[in-house]
Amino acid sequence: MPASRPVSRRTALAATLGLIAASPRRAAAATTLLNVSYDPTRELYRAINPVFIAAWKAKSGQEISINQSHGGSGAQSRAVLEGLQADVVTLALAADIDALAKRGLIAANWQTRLPDNAAPYTSTIVFLVRAGNPKRVHDWADLLKPDVAVITPNPKTSGGARWNFLAAVTWAQRQPGATEASVEEYTRRLIRQVPVLDTGARGATNSFVQRELGDVLLAWENEAWLARQEFGGGAYEIVYPSVSVLAEPSVSVVDSVVGKKGTHDVATAYLEFLYTKPAQEIIAKNFYRPRDAAVAKQYAERYPALPMATIEDFGGWDRAQAKYFADGGLFDRIFIPGK
């Protein structure tokens, strides 16, 4: 973090006054891309963007700049639907891009326009616990121990939270003698362990790390690693449960916007760049699981293999969404007491 950048007081003051008073808009580039993304990817794209900008300059001679917008994946999808002029969306899950496709902003075949289901990297859901794992949390069953407080964001607004929820459901489904009722009962008991429900993944991480709430954070693998790095490796441990989900955060060009702005080529090139080796390297360094086999091998030690359910195991996002997260779905029902 830029916490202790050496800036003299005078420079900072001069810069402050100068920039407030003088020209608006940073270095007026002819073309500006807006990347509307989900919560944890700020550091990732902050690292990728300059590399792509340089590569694009070398290739086409064109100067571009890239703006970022971050928030809960569902909220971001809504903002684009409402007219936020995103050239590309890089969201936590395919369903949030499907929502845009259903309303005609993006071609229906978006997931086949790029390799690997249009997901340039994957991730999974892990547990982040405090140093020494004092509550001995090793698997999903341990989350129900009476003295364990679990931090997870709200699946209604956060994509990561939906993956968290599906990972929990996966474990419950794979228990001997599991039924619909037993799965519901597990999620109902799990949610009682949750003291705070943030709207986005980053808010949940902040609750766990900065406010020291809870004993376990259900988190994106990348978010868990980043938190460890930001706040000193010794303070937290990452626990890989016995089973989790294969999260595929997907990306797409927003056809209606690039058509209007004339940015189709550069936006497409930007997303294709994510699959190149330099970008995959950055992706792996930022704690996401790369698609590129060579890069994946290089970082294999950091990303252990574990049994993971995919969204297809839930019959695709449409069904998962309706069954678990829509109004009146499982997530709503488990909050109604007395059942």
Binding site: G72, R78, A99, K156, V196, R211, E212, L213, D327, D332
Partner: protein, 274 residues
Amino acid sequence: MTLPSRRSALPGFSLTLGITVVWLSLIVLLPLTLLALRPWTLGLEGVWHSVTEPRVLAALRLSFGIAALAAAVNMPLGLLVAWVMVRYRFPLRNLADSLIDMPLALPTAVAGIALTALFAPRGWIGALLLPLGIRVAYTPLGIFVALVFVGLPFMVRTLEPVIMDMPRDAEEAAATLGATRRQTLLRVVLPALTPALLAGFGAAFGRGIGEYGSVIFIAGNMPMVSEIAPLLILIRLEQLNYAGAAALALVMLLASFAVFLGLNVLRARLRSRA
């Protein structure tokens, strides 16, 4: 437009009334009217269903309940502060008096993160309360603290001028007639302050119902427990449920108006009795 019965021969009536009415209509009335029209695509039954879901009812109960509780607690607190400010002289009084408006001048988001930092389990105050088993941040109690903070200046500023204008001879007469100080306060002072207390309650309550920025960081936002109604409106918006969001917004608006009308009627009655 009917001709105005002018009080004076001053010019500018049509111009200023025109600006006022046009600006009011464009900025306030038109958008609110459209908001009121929006839910009905759901049909009457749909609207009813969407505002009577258990989670919605819990959020409304929370927003209105805690706002009322915080405003009620602000009555004695505000009375204490206003009384001390008006009646007593002490060092730094002017500074203290200026500070009372802090919650209104401080951006709500700043208030929110500051109160959260203070009352979180590791915060300066939160750490003191934790051994007593009191958790403030991320519980309904946190919402209560935020709303007491936001509401205090409304109560104090409503009471101050009334206390200032209150004739002291009534108190002195009571004292001369042998009433104790406590009797005087209860029988003479308090009744005279009741309309102002109610007005302050109404203002603090009204602000508290819809408050967002200072509450959202400290609330915890658990459905059925600590999720306030404005957050539920936002969540509906994020789920593209526009009609549902508008329906809930409309219920909140109507309920706050009802509360205000009720309080105004009550105040008018008290005043006419006095």
